[in-house]
């Protein structure tokens, strides 16, 4: 057996590692995707006051602290049995939508999107934000910066700080916003909506190019999994609150459930060779690293959310949603199948960016958005609560148990990227099998395809471990059966 080790250059930091074993014919026998980091939040949050959990769990991830902050606040609301006043819910969702536009902007223009914008064959030196600016113009570059600055400003106005917000507490928020702040947020939201619309148009022109379209939307990374995401009462994509809808690989509904019932629907499989678990659908079962209707592997994040929903709740996003499905998954026998190709995640992400910006304008126009009635008091001792939001990288669930004084006694977390752990492993395996035959390795092709697979998912091992999304520098070490290195491939060589 020959062994390939694909190891981020950062293997010495523990970001993630891929081991590929070849059989005697030189074909792929098995791949292992290892996540070698564990920080232990489930353990050391025990004993802390539950009202501190939104501030403590922020520190799981500095890329998406807003998601952890709000999932924690919702779990603490539920533990106390409090429903926050409507203005508090509006404020939380408004902050969250601003964060979504910001995060998706960062991904499309700086992290995963350069593959699309520059084309997969562009020199490595150009497949980054600077290359993007050279291609689409400095003006677009400054709009990216403006959008990110605006998003962080909204998070600061509502959340109190730009990174690791502090205002969501059990029962609501510590503060509201005044009329002047509301007006500032509205102006930012208008700019964000223009930029989201522009980004969708840009994507349409990019995939008009046949080669880009084939590589992005072709079948290399096509896995027929289940899909899961939060939906509103009409089955449309929801980010801050809702029920979870799961569809099967043929598009039929597997089930819809309240997030607090997640343990009836989701279980997490453990492998002894990685610190990250593999969630799967309990009612289907863990069948190993295979796709299809008999395997409980499901996909989340933009691809999962759009597949699991029946539409978008705002008009311009709905129009894009219809175009997306008409293009990628036309109905057969009246049933709309899910989009299975992973490269479609870039498009789905931009549709969500449009939705989040449109939703900001709805929220900021709500007469109650400047209300000072932003916190409700508990009327009972806390016990147990589940809080779920859609993080940009997938459904995020915080589950706390407390004693009667509100000190945490047990914590369970299922973070966004973790849900996609098994699908990411499938894509890595697909890349390896597609590109290694009879011992022949397509060197740079392998690196590029695997990197593209990663970047489409926008994995955030910051949540699971600590790496920013998108950029996963790879190094491939080829070893003979005795473990001796016989060659090294590195991106950029």
């Amino acid at each position: 057996v020959t062994r390939l080790t694909i190891d981020p250059i950062t293997r010495l930091e523990g970001h993630g590692k891929i081991e590929i074993f070849l059989d005697d014919q030189g074909d792929v026998e098995k791949t292992y995707f290892q996540v070698p980091e564990l920080r232990g939040f489930e353990s050391f949050c025990v004993g802390r006051p539950v009202e501190e959990m939104p501030a403590l769990t922020n520190r799981i991830c500095g890329v998406c602290p807003e998601a952890h902050h709000l999932a924690a606040a919702k779990a603490a609301d539920a533990a106390y049995g409090i429903v926050p006043p409507r203005p508090a819910q509006l404020l939380r969702e408004l902050m969250y939508c601003a964060f979504y536009v910001t995060d998706h902007t960062t991904h499309f223009y700086a992290l995963g999107g350069p593959d699309v914008i520059m084309g997969p064959d562009a020199p490595v030196a150009d497949r980054n934000i600077l290359g993007v600016i050279r291609k689409v113009g400095l003006e677009v570059g400054s709009r990216v910066i403006e959008t990110r600055r605006g998003g962080h400003r909204v998070v600061e106005l509502i959340g109190g700080r730009r990174i690791h917000p502090c205002t969501a507490v059990p029962g609501g928020m510590t503060k509201g916003i005044n009329a002047q702040e509301r007006a500032e947020i509205e102006a930012i939201a208008r700019q964000m909506l223009d930029f989201a619309a522009f980004s969708n148009e840009l994507f349409a022109t990019l995939i008009a190019d046949g080669q880009t379209r084939d590589l992005l939307l072709g079948d290399l990374f096509r896995h027929e999994t289940y899909y899961s995401g939060l939906v509103d009462d009409k089955g449309r994509v929801a980010l801050y609150d809702g029920r979870i809808r799961v569809v099967a690989p043929d598009g039929t509904e597997h089930g819809t459930y309240e997030p607090r019932d997640y343990r009836e629907w989701i279980a997490e499989h453990v492998e002894p060779w990685t610190y990250l678990k593999f969630p799967y659908l309990r009612k289907v079962g863990w069948k190993g690293f295979v796709d299809g209707a008999d395997s409980g592997i499901y996909t989340v994040a933009p691809l999962g959310r759009l597949n699991a929903a029946t539409g978008m709740a705002t008009p311009r996003a709905q129009a894009e949603y219809e175009r997306y499905f008409a293009t990628l998954a036309p109905p057969t026998n009246g049933v709309r199948p899910p989009v299975h190709v992973r490269g479609a995640m870039h498009w789905a992400r931009l549709i969500e960016m449009l939705y989040a910006a449109e939703r900001m304008l709805e929220l900021v126009a709500d007469p109650e958005i400047t209300s000072t009635d932003v916190r409700a008091m508990p009327t009972q001792a806390p016990t147990e609560g589940v809080g779920t939001v859609e993080a940009p990288r997938g459904t995020l669930t915080h589950h706390y148990w407390t004693d009667a004084d509100g000190l945490v006694t047990r914590v369970n977390l299922i973070v966004g990227t973790t849900n996609n752990h098994a699908p990411i492993a499938l894509s890595i395996d697909r890349a390896a099998r597609g590109l290694i035959r009879h011992g022949v390795v397509i060197d740079n092709g392998l690196l590029n395809r695997i990197e593209m697979a990663f970047r489409a998912y926008d994995p955030c091992f910051g949540c699971a471990t600590h790496s920013l999304p998108g950029e996963m520098p790879l190094e491939v070490v080829i070893r003979d059966p005795r473990g001796e290195t016989v060659g090294v491939l590195r991106r950029g060589d």
């Binding site: 057996v1 062994r3 250059i9 930091e13 523990g14 970001h15 081991e19 074993f21 098995k30 290892q34 070698p36 564990l38 232990g40 489930e42 353990s43 050391f44 949050c45 025990v46 004993g47 802390r48 009202e51 501190e52 501030a55 520190r59 991830c61 500095g62 106390y80 910066i145 990110r148 600055r149 962080h152 600061e156 109190g160 730009r162 990174i163 690791h164 502090c166 205002t167 507490v169 510590t174 503060k175 343990r263 279980a267 997490e268 060779w273 990685t274 610190y275 678990k277 309990r282 589950h399 509100g406 369970n412 910051g462 600590h466 790496s467 920013l468 950029e471 520098p473 190094e475 950029g492």
Partner: protein, 332 residues
């Protein structure tokens, strides 16, 4: 034409959340000026990083390295040593590198406790009680994972640190000041303070930056936010009975949390001249408590249900209380 060499800059995350990197990116337009002045030679968050190139760099050839994150496993420690060797100025950047931050609370637990919480969790399907191990014999060959260290260590428990930038994360305005100062010093136009100094932090406490009114009111009990029906928007939170860490915490953050109605949680670390955050906070709390007898004080302090979290929320790993000695031993 004379070309001036750009200063060589590196940034690295060990066991971190990425918030420090985002805080630097949030310089927004100023990041372009930064790129004019500095050549980024190593920064995994934003650029393709060739680790072998880092190893090949001459010692002390990086002018300044911002190091964020704690030292959780052997790999974090190895990178800390490597970057120490390659950097003329090594900056412990952010709370994790300086004092352990929230993940440092893991030092209250054992490694097996961390693993049990993660792998026997309420939604985990693990009938065989599997624990990921540093070495695993897969049918096809050996697989390895980096071993967790028994305690999370701060950067200065592993290598010598030149400067410290506090905050979780450091505020972007402070980062701009620090980068401006370091750049000017490298140009020969400014002088850096003595080694070991804090950069990007104030000389006082969060209370001095806080705009809330203090009336020297004493309190007869501590309360908790969910139990306090009405929080006065203008009055000191501590005087309203909420345990606020402002009196022991370094200024420089702008006192944003108390301004937003949330008590200071202490993310800027111990105020200037304070060795032990918890001891200083305890004495600050004692000074506002309306009691004279030790028993009364004890009763009031019983209103703080999570003392270790309250007094060492960010600083446990770096404190004398827990971690430092054992972490040094683990390093040796």
């Amino acid at each position: 034409m004379i070309e001036t060499r750009k200063h060589r800059f590196a940034m690295y995350w060990a066991s971190a959340c990425g918030g420090c990197d985002i805080a630097v990116l949030n310089l927004h337009e100023a990041i372009l000026d930064f790129a004019e002045r500095f050549e980024i030679v190593f920064w995994p968050a934003v650029m393709d990083t060739k680790y072998a190139d880092l190893e090949a760099m001459p010692d002390a050839s990086i002018d300044v390295t911002l190091f964020s994150g704690g030292i959780r496993n052997a790999e974090n420690a190895r990178l800390a040593r490597l970057l120490r060797a390659k950097s003329a100025i090594l900056v412990a950047f952010g709370s994790c590198a300086n004092e352990g931050c929230i993940p440092g609370l893991a030092n209250l637990a054992t490694t097996s406790g961390l693993l049990t919480a993660a792998f026997e969790g309420p939604s985990t399907d693990n009938p065989d009680h599997i624990r990921p191990a540093a070495a695993f014999h897969a049918p096809e060959g050996e697989l390895e994972l980096p071993e967790l260290r028994p305690l999370l260590a701060t950067l200065d428990q592993v290598v010598e640190v030149d400067y410290r930038v506090p905050g979780c994360p450091p505020e972007s305005e402070r980062i701009a000041e620090v980068i401006g100062l370091v750049g000017a010093a490298l140009d020969g136009n400014a002088t850096l303070p003595p080694r070991g100094s804090i950069l990007g932090g104030g000389k006082s406490t969060v209370c001095d930056e806080c705009k809330r009114d203090r009336n020297s009111k004493r309190i007869d009990h501590f309360t908790r936010l969910p139990l306090l029906a009405s929080v006065d928007a203008d009055v000191c939170l501590l005087e309203q009975g909420l345990p606020c860490n402002g009196p022991a915490t370094r200024d420089g953050c702008g006192a944003k949390c108390p301004a937003a109605g949330a008590p200071c949680i202490g993310c800027y670390g111990a105020a200037d001249g304070v060795d032990d955050f918890g001891a200083r906070l305890l004495s600050a709390f004692a000074s506002v408590v309306d009691a004279s007898e030790p028993e009364q004080i004890d009763t009031i302090l019983n209103g703080l249900p999570d003392p270790v979290g309250q007094f060492y929320r960010f600083s446990l790993a770096g404190s004398l209380l827990r971690g430092a000695r054992a972490a040094r031993e683990a390093t040796q």
